[in-house]
Symmetry: C2
Subunit: 319 residues, 2 copies
């Protein structure tokens, strides 16, 4: 297996053309992504991307065992599991089969590939040999070739490759500011997926608790928590914002920074440029991915193993 | 204004019959709730409730300025703002008018009532004189009379009234275990809204940071964060679970408790009995509401004022 750093540096290379042939059904009335963890973030990103592009169909991202009750044969369900063995996603796949929904599956192999072959479900196979979270590019790329715009994907690829070495450096300062604290990541509406990804990357790579919340919702509750200095002292803050948010959201980002500064914090703002929304989203994610890697190093943890997840899976097998 | 404790004790009294006449349109193709903070949680609860009851229509809960792009004249949009002046909800209302959607609004007055009258939109007026989060019962009750089952609402009301004094007591131990730490609240799929409500009530009532995450998703990332004892020491954990979850979720709840105990924590499990799902959900929420009140007292904070939210609103007015 490649090193974590080699995998991170190669993120842009994941966005190679995928031949999706005539896999996409001619019509469907809603689109449901199913996946967990490093595979589930793909559904969150795709939901944001499609809604931002004005999707005329409802889009859902499910993280759990249960298909939504209003999904029927007219829906398209995209099941994504890097290993192909995630039990929640297999459960959703089986329910989707039962209601006769249209399905596409994405995995590096496993039970999801087997079941897809058995049921004649179109399957996109992606490369093996990565921890799921380091294979985000492959899974997302498959979805973008299914539902995205070719010029945006090619642009994104170049943007990521051009940014890699710079992000590897600038993210060191972010890691430094988070070291020794509970990282709290705020996302604006267009950057919710990036904020959540950063939280989970700190969990898995840096083996450290981290949490996320969203602007503007956090202005209605979370900000009051800043009142308590005894508890606040354990936290450090990052805001992931898009440059092209609703103007009132951008105003709220500035206000959040001011309020945090007033409380003695120095929040970090991540808000990269990019020609397309998907490019800005992935570049913001890329910086967080690197920062979680550096934070792991600072704590002396190997970013790759995730022993407690391995333990959970073992216990689930034992029943 | 009543005291916080008086308002908490009266929660069950909010569930009086509401005459919704023929407010509900005969047909609609999807249901969208719009609201923020203490009003927004109503949409989260209703989404869970309708999906649990097997809704045959897509249900969404929006927290923000933007209506979803696939909402058109066939959708029903329910706009909820306790004050009636929440700018995000007003923005969604105006967009819903623009696309010709069917709308119902709920507020204690404010701009939302005015706009509803102007546009001939059915409006449910609820009592004034409460902070929004203490008026949850009134707002939710209105929605339940619109979309719920009468026997469940009556049952819920009795359940809440019968539990009040016991919950006021048992929640003291929960507050004690959270005092001095960052509370982390986990919710199972059916209790996501309860976990989020508890987080926000700690923020607003206890003036203290608190965060939430969800089972099973947190088994795919968050659990790895337990590796880092230097940062974990700042946290304390609560799990809000439904008694009738998917069996694999219930297994995962037990595993999460075991893992946390193994790390030296003593997580609290909130999982009340109740005849209906909505009753169990609201009872779990009720315990958290009381616990956040006690936690405020322990820190010496008045649970009612939310100065930083007041400041945010003021600055938004200034533009």
């Amino acid at each position: 297996m490649k090193s974590a750093l080699e995998m991170l540096r190669g993120f842009g290379d994941h966005f190679e053309k995928v031949d999706v042939g005539n896999m996409l059904p001619q019509s469907y009335n809603m689109l449901v992504f199913s996946g967990m963890g490093g595979s589930g973030i793909v559904g969150e990103i795709m939901k944001s991307y499609l809604i931002k592009n004005g999707s005329n169909k409802p889009v859902f991202s499910i993280k759990g065992y249960e298909l939504l009750p209003f999904v029927d044969k007219d829906a398209l369900v995209v099941c994504i599991s890097y290993s192909g063995d995630t039990e929640e996603t297999i459960s959703v796949f089986e329910q989707a089969i039962k209601v006769g929904a249209k399905i596409i599956s994405i995995s590096s192999g496993g039970k999801l590939e087997e079941l897809s072959n058995k049921h004649g479900v179109p399957h996109i196979k992606i490369p093996t040999g990565y921890p799921p979270r380091y294979a985000l590019g492959f899974m997302l790329n498959a979805c973008l070739w299914l539902f995205g715009k070719e010029e945006e994907i090619l642009d994104l690829k170049e943007d990521l490759k051009a940014s890699s070495s710079r992000y590897e450096e600038v993210s060191k300062d972010i890691a430094k500011s988070l070291f020794g604290y509970v990282p709290i990541i705020y996302g604006t509406p267009l950057m919710e997926a990036a904020a959540y990804r950063f939280k989970t990357q700190i969990n898995e790579n840096s083996k450290t608790p981290a949490y996320n919340a969203y602007i503007p919702e956090m202005h209605h509750n979370e900000v009051v928590g800043y009142t308590n200095p005894d508890i606040n002292q354990y936290l450090r803050f990052v805001i992931v914002a898009d440059k092209k948010e609703h103007p009132r959201v951008s105003l709220r980002v500035n206000m959040t920074i001011d309020i945090l500064k007033d409380k003695g914090f120095n929040p970090i703002l991540i808000s990269e440029e990019g020609n397309s929304y998907i490019s800005r989203l992935l570049k913001n994610i890329y910086i967080g991915d690197f920062a979680s890697y550096h934070l792991a190093n600072m704590y002396g943890y190997d970013p790759l193993p995730v022993d407690i997840i391995t333990y959970v899976k073992k216990r689930l097998q034992d029943g």
